[in-house]
């Protein structure tokens, strides 16, 4: 089982993503992180940055790496709100 440690830039601690193989593709990593953090809204994307080099990671990230994650808005996507979700407090 291979691990990658990720931390959201604004948060204080690292979490882990587990996968098979020597590395994981950027898209799969994003999907895994979004799944773990329950990020369902269609209007946000993740920016993955190598924790050591502070540069954006390329297509494949090797196991054992530490990355910093940033939630950013998806350019061009309309903001969505699910009618399934909890809207009790919306009227203001």
């Amino acid at each position: 089982m291979a691990h990658i440690h990720y931390k959201f830039s604004s948060k204080l601690s690292y979490d882990t993503v587990v996968f098979d193989g020597p590395n994981i593709s950027l898209t799969d990593l994003k999907k895994q992180i979004m799944g773990r953090e329950k990020l369902r809204a269609g209007d946000c994307d993740l920016q993955i940055i190598n924790a050591q080099t502070k540069e954006e990671d390329g297509g494949h990230i090797p196991k054992g790496s530490s990355v910093i994650v940033r939630r950013i808005p998806l350019i061009g996507a309309k903001s969505s709100s699910n009618s399934k979700t909890n809207h009790k407090y919306v009227c203001f």
């Binding site: 959201f8 948060k11 204080l12 329950k38 809204a41 946000c44 954006e56 809207h87 919306v90 203001f92």
Partner: protein, 683 residues
């Protein structure tokens, strides 16, 4: 990596003229208000809300684009979830270490509002952004501010005005280095039964950040709206129906309760029909409302002396469905406001199939929610359990949400004329329409220039403010009137963004700084006669003053070094500065010389011996040109003959003349000068 901008290497952030405004939420949307302001190295966050239409991390503003540890100040405008819902998370789960401020009423209500939010959230505990404990722990980090009270944090001056909208809502005016920015939060320029209208600040801001929820809409008149509301309620109960008003427990609900109570009071025929205010929070919230009367308008404050208007005559509290006997027509104001779950949803589902019943939507609804959905008058709705029910009850939308409309916003801007307006907290299209309308208002106006911006989330608006640096001359320097081109010099004192110029003597009057003086003292062992030392010092400095009326022999050398003759030593004293230090060094050397050189101690002033000089001169000439070259023609001059040329030397003046041979003359002259200098005692 466009988001994190490093300061320009040439200009440090503190001196830069760039002012940056970046919404991390509520940029071209409604929800998760969070606006970052950066200027002169200071970073301020305005509001920290969650998006009510989203859950978990999705609901947060894009906080990852900033470093929480760099935020100096966080200001919360009011207690609605989309302005403070992320505060416990931000305070407890990030590296934020700045100061947080809100008004007293906001803090009190924030406590119970968010507590209720945590309780009724039906997502699992793991997915919750924060817990009740986080909320409790966050309370001590939040500081309170009174309306119109000026506070200063890290060189940032700020104060707040009444914003109307809800109890305790504030508009914050922020001043950094003379540049003023007004953040309205959510505001309303219309007074209602318990809240005052938003104030128009007497100080004009350079930048206005304003909400744009209702864009270019114009609200119906207050009396018309209230009449329509009361009539709708009356009609529903008249036809034996139940009237459901889903509202959030705190906020506009209190206004509706006041309206209904008054209407019932004026309509005795309705006194048998109960009005219920259903919320587990009700009692706590009403207690808060009754406490913060001085954040409300004059009418209520006067009324409170007679009797408490929030003690209702015709409205009862309802904790849950179990307490509710659903017999006959009634009016129920139930939270939660969007009917997704809880009491208002239960009631909705049990009443929606009867056409006598009615629901009144009394607030602003976000796209994609059930309340928004039923306003489109669908045939059926889906219950919480998935069952489909026909929607027969009437649906009315009467908004009491106390946001500014186009008329109010336009008037507000006209009164302040801010050169820059930033629109936030509005759905994309509404905001665009408002922007266009505002630009149109001022496009033909030559005197007033207003730039309108509507940034998306994470998009920054950069403005430049060339500040004039003003330095105030204080104290003695200010006594004389000064003329153009006159040179003024003094010490420049900078405190935050204020500059003052004053003389060093005035420093203690106007600042906490004081001027100090360093005096050096040196003791050198000296056992010789002081008179010898003084005479040597006279040779050195020339200027040696005897200081009168002292016990011990004291002299002042170079007008700055004091030398006192003590037993077995001399004490040098002087005020430390580079010049005096050098003089002191020279004096110390002389003392040490006289002390250590036994010859110097004994011998008196040496005189230049002419005889010895002539003797030596003759000897030198012999050495240079041979034994026979020198002869004396007269008692005064020397004659040196070399190869037929004769040079005349006058020992007194050391002048050498030789008409025949110039090189010879030069040679002898140099030699004589060298000899003289070698023999002359060094002074």
């Amino acid at each position: 990596m466009a988001a994190k901008r490093k300061a320009d290497a040439m200009v440090p952030a503190e001196e830069s003229d760039q002012l940056l405004i970046r919404p991390l939420g509520a940029g071209q949307e409604v929800g998760r208000s969070c606006i970052i302001l950066e200027f002169k190295g200071r970073k301020i966050m305005l509001d920290c809300g969650i998006h009510p239409g989203l859950e978990g991390m999705d609901a947060l503003p894009y906080i990852d684009l900033i470093d929480p540890a760099e935020i100096d100040l966080l200001l919360i405008s009011h207690f609605h979830l989309d302005h403070c819902g992320a505060l416990p998370w931000f305070l407890q789960k990030t590296s934020f270490k700045g100061r947080t401020f809100m008004t007293h009423a906001t803090k009190a209500i924030y406590r119970w509002l968010l507590s209720d939010y945590v309780k009724v959230s039906n997502i699992s505990a793991d997915d919750m952004l924060y817990t009740e404990t986080d909320l409790e722990d966050s309370m001590e980090k939040i500081e309170t501010i009174n309306f119109h009270e000026v506070k200063e944090v890290a060189g940032i001056k700020f104060w707040c005005y009444h914003a109307g909208h809800v109890l305790g809502a504030a508009m914050f005016m922020i001043e950094i280095a003379g540049v003023k920015l007004l953040y309205t939060g959510d505001f309303s320029r219309q007074e209602d039964r318990h809240l005052m209208a938003a104030e128009i600040p007497s100080v004009k801001p350079d930048i206005l950040i304003t909400e744009s929820t209702y864009g270019t809409h114009i609200h119906e008149k207050r009396e018309e709206r209230e009449a329509r509301f009361c009539n709708t309620v009356h009609d529903i109960v008249n036809r034996e129906g139940r009237c459901l008003i889903p509202v959030f427990a705190l906020g506009r609900a209190q206004e509706l309760l006041l309206i209904l109570d008054e209407y019932w009071q004026n309509h005795p025929e309705l006194h048998d029909i109960p009005i219920y205010y259903a919320s587990s929070l009700a009692r706590k919230c009403m207690a808060v409302y009754q406490t913060y009367i001085n954040a409300m308008n004059d009418k209520i404050r006067k009324a409170i002396n007679v009797n408490n208007p929030f003690v209702f005559k015709h409205i009862s509290n309802l904790k849950s469905m179990d307490h509710f006997d659903d017999i006959g027509p009634s009016v129920v104001m139930a939270s939660p406001g969007m009917m997704q779950s809880g009491l208002s949803r239960e009631l909705f589902e049990s009443w929606c199939t009867d056409k006598r019943n009615g629901v009144i939507i009394a607030g602003y609804c976000v796209e994609g929610t059930l309340a928004k959905h039923i306003m489109t008058e669908p045939e059926e709705i889906t219950t919480m359990s998935g069952q489909k029910l026909p929607l027969k009850m009437s649906v009315d939308y009467i908004s009491f949400s106390a946001h500014t409309d186009y008329q109010q916003t336009s008037e507000f801007i006209r009164a302040l004329k801010p050169p820059h307006v930033i629109l936030v907290h509005g759905e994309q299209n509404e905001m665009a329409r408002l922007k266009a309308a505002l630009i149109r208002e001022y496009e033909d106006n030559d005197e007033v220039h207003i730039e309108v911006h509507n940034p998306r989330n994470t998009e920054a608006v950069t403005l430049t403010f060339r500040g004039e640096k003003l330095a105030k001359v204080m104290g003695a320097l200010a006594d004389k009137k000064c003329a153009q081109d006159q040179r003024v010099s003094g010490i420049l004192v900078k405190r935050n963004f204020n500059y003052h110029i004053m003389t060093p003597a005035d420093l203690s009057n106007y600042t906490d700084l004081s001027v100090g003086m360093v005096t050096q003292t040196q003791a050198i062992p000296f056992t010789g006669p002081i008179s010898l030392l003084v005479s040597q010092l006279r040779n050195l400095a020339g200027d040696v003053q005897q200081v009168e009326k002292t016990e011990k022999i004291t002299v002042k050398i170079f007008e700055s070094i004091t030398l006192v003759h003590e037993a077995g030593m001399v004490l040098l004293e002087w005020v430390a500065n580079p010049l005096n230090d050098m003089y002191a060094d020279a004096v110390a050397t002389v003392v040490l010389e006289v002390q250590s050189n036994p010859n110097a101690q004994k011998c008196q002033k040496e005189t230049f011996d002419m005889e010895v000089f002539v003797e030596r001169l003759e000897l030198m000439m012999h050495d240079m040109f041979g034994d026979d070259c020198v002869n004396f023609k007269d008692s005064r001059n020397l004659f040196v003959t070399v190869d037929g040329a004769t040079a005349t030397i006058d020992p007194e003046t050391r002048a050498v003349t030789c008409p025949d041979d110039e090189p010879l003359r030069e040679m002898i002259e140099v030699a004589i000068h060298r000899l003289f200098e070698a023999l002359t005692p060094v002074f």
